[in-house]
């Protein structure tokens, strides 16, 4: 293993551990009732997100979804601000006006988080179009689910990106469920990556639980984009360990399938691998995990201590400049 690969894997683990700690904290707060929001856990998709953003700089663009905190953290969005947004506080990334489904943090390249399935793909095409026109060298990555691969926007976006050879990578996080609908009950393609054929672009399926493989596949896709060779469709197969939303018991999930997936839980798997390959020892990893926990605790405290937005925020930001027909209801 090359030194750079060792460093990359360790850095993926650092990010994945932070995602996992953040997710666990949030679910803890939801369970205890300290927090009451709609929350879509990324549990199981931490490594995949970390390996994807490992190839991106702050000025590269990311578009993600309601199930997006793993992607946002991996891209570098500040944890304090993310937590504050989820808490609906004025100190949040979006002053509490967007919420967890609509996180935006341009300085780390988190450009759009959408709650509409599939709608991020055309927007990513637009970000990539701007890079193509300006020649700014940025790459856009858009993350979406398996269910999103069945919506019209997916098709239009991939076709357009292919025709225009845009610097964009479409990363499908195939966690085998779309809400409570199983993959094959909604998706006709044996493999989502096969759909790339219809756009004349490379389609690669990778085990999203395998950090090295994901690093490799996404790395090649980002390099193609960066080199002006056009878009790639990456299908990273993973699993959604929590229900669709926090509180969904997931009764529709098959127990054997679930157990088998859990046996391949990517975070402990990467941890074990790092030790087995001698990339890191137990103490180093424990330090990383402790650091993650500390950051998460600090973020939760920051959020909880932050004020709510004042009522003037209700009517600001509708337009750049206030227009006089906009009035605060009395």
């Amino acid at each position: 293993m090359a030194d750079s690969d060792r460093t990359s894997l360790l850095s993926v683990y650092r990010t994945a551990a932070l995602i996992k700690a953040a997710d666990e904290k949030l679910r803890g707060l939801l369970t205890s009732g300290e927090l009451a929001v709609a929350y879509y856990s990324p549990r199981g998709q931490e490594v995949l997100a970390a390996a994807t953003s490992a190839h991106l700089d702050a000025q590269d663009y990311l578009v993600t979804t309601y199930r997006g905190i793993h992607d946002q953290i991996a891209k570098g969005a500040p944890l304090d601000l993310l937590f504050a947004e989820i808490f609906g506080r004025v100190t949040g990334t979006c002053k509490g006006k967007g919420g967890p489904m609509h996180v935006t943090h341009p300085s780390t390249g988190v450009m759009v988080t959408t709650g509409i399935v599939g709608s991020g793909l055309p927007i990513a095409v637009g970000l990539a179009t701007s890079s193509s026109i300006r020649g700014d060298g940025r790459v856009t990555v858009v993350c979406f689910g398996d269910g999103a691969s069945n919506i019209g926007a997916f098709h239009e976006a991939l076709n357009l990106a292919a025709v225009w050879k845009l610097p964009v990578v479409f990363v499908c996080q195939n966690n085998l469920y779309a809400e409570s609908t199983r993959y094959a009950d909604g998706t006709s393609a044996a493999r989502i990556a096969d759909r790339a054929v219809g756009y004349g672009i490379p389609g690669e399926r990778v085990d999203g639980n395998d950090a090295a493989a994901t690093l490799d596949v996404v790395g090649r896709a980002v390099a193609r984009a960066r080199a002006g060779e056009g878009p790639t469709l990456v299908e990273a197969v993973t699993y959604r360990f929590m229900g669709h939303y926090f509180g969904d018991p997931g009764a529709y999930m098959d127990a054997d399938e679930y157990a088998a997936a859990l046996a391949r839980d990517p975070v402990p798997a990467l941890r074990a691998r790092l030790i087995a390959d001698g990339v890191a020892d137990e103490a180093t990893l424990a330090d990383i995990e402790a650091e993650a926990t500390a950051k998460v605790e600090a973020a939760a405290a920051f959020a909880a201590d932050s004020p709510l937005p004042g009522v003037a925020e209700l009517t600001s930001d509708v337009y750049r400049e206030a227009v006089y027909h906009e009035e605060v209801p009395a």
């Binding site: 709609a38 709650g115 919506i151 809400e179 937005p309 209700l314």
Partner: protein, 331 residues
């Protein structure tokens, strides 16, 4: 209109019972939408719960996430003479299916010279107050009401929910029934089985001589409670529940306001270019000179729906504003 009974049901039960009764009565009724089968838990809001088990997955069809195809499939099946009931999980997603709904469902009867009606029903849910933010809470009924050929229904009680959904399913034209995410678990008296509530007719939910409050959907219950309180102060509020937004029952609205000479309109959608504008305009145009005070609209703020609960509660129409408007008009 609907016989009240001792039994109480939630809105979720009301919609579910209407679907069940319609499917039992008529083989041409079928259901499609995301996660609607029992294998998938019977729908996000459980409205279709039990139906696929009872009627089979041929008549209760879980779809991919494909709103255009969901509505388009309903259009095609309706043209073939079926009575599809399509679920669009949340109303903001209807933006993805409006070509099928507006360019096709609403127009195929007309453009075919009356040959092919489109007896479909779209059920969709929305509303603010659940902390779902800007993309999951919009009330867009004004758009649909602007489209000749569509019928638009917004129920305010479980009994109405059931009776209006039944009428929509058996109506020969495309109907959109707008359900409220924050009301699914509220209860009200159950109607007798099979009771349909006619479309296109408003309902005087409470008679009163001093002022007409015209509302639909969620605010109706709150306005009725306010009317009870105001009665204590000697102000007799007439509450008109539109039930159907389009075709609008202008006659009932105008007769009420002609009697009371005062009107307040309340709805959850943003005010600008909303349903209240049409109602206010008709009152102004038809009862010009008879009004004792200006018509007042109380609506949600002219902004996207904010996420933070601190803002979302201020975004929504304010019942105290309705009260002040009534008191001012009745001074």
């Amino acid at each position: 209109m609907s016989a009240a009974s001792a039994r109480k049901i939630t809105f979720q039960q009301a919609y579910n019972e209407a679907l069940d009764e319609a499917m039992a009565a008529d083989d041409s009724v079928f259901v499609l939408g995301e996660d609607v089968g029992d294998k998938e838990g019977g729908g996000t809001f459980k409205v279709t719960s039990g139906l696929s088990t009872k009627y089979g997955t041929s008549r209760v069809r879980t779809t991919p996430i494909s709103e255009q195809a969901i509505i388009g499939t309903a259009v095609g099946a309706a043209v073939a003479g079926m009575r599809p009931v399509a679920e669009i999980m949340l109303m903001n997603f209807i933006t993805l299916g409006l070509d099928q709904l507006v360019n096709h469902a609403a127009k195929l009867r007309y453009m075919s010279g009356g040959q092919t009606g489109v007896p479909l029903t779209v059920r969709t849910a929305t509303g603010a107050g659940g902390g779902f933010g800007g993309q999951h809470s919009d009330m867009l009924e004004a758009w649909l009401a602007h489209v000749p050929g569509l019928k638009v229904v917004v129920p305010s009680s479980p009994a109405d929910a059931k009776g209006l959904l039944l009428s929509s399913i058996f109506d020969d034209d495309p109907c959109v029934v707008i359900e409220h995410t924050q009301m699914y678990w509220s209860k009200g008296p159950a109607p007798e089985p099979g009771v349909r509530i006619p479309l296109g007719r408003a309902h005087i939910a409470r008679p009163g001589r001093d002022i007409s409050v015209i509302a639909y959907g969620r605010p109706v219950g709150e306005v009725l409670a306010l009317a009870d309180r105001l009665a204590g102060d000697g102000i007799e509020v007439e509450v008109v529940d539109l039930r159907t937004i389009s075709p609008l029952d202008e006659r009932t609205v105008l007769e009420s306001v002609a009697r009371t000479r005062r009107a307040v309109i309340v709805h959850e959608a943003v005010g600008q270019f909303g349903v209240g504008a049409e109602i206010s305009a008709r009152i102004g145009e038809e009862l010009h000179g008879d009004l004792a005070s200006p018509v007042v609209r109380v609506t949600s703020a002219n902004t996207p729906v904010p996420f933070s609960p601190a803002l979302e509660s201020r975004y929504l129409y304010q019942i105290p504003d309705v009260e002040s408007a009534i008191r001012k008009a009745c001074q």
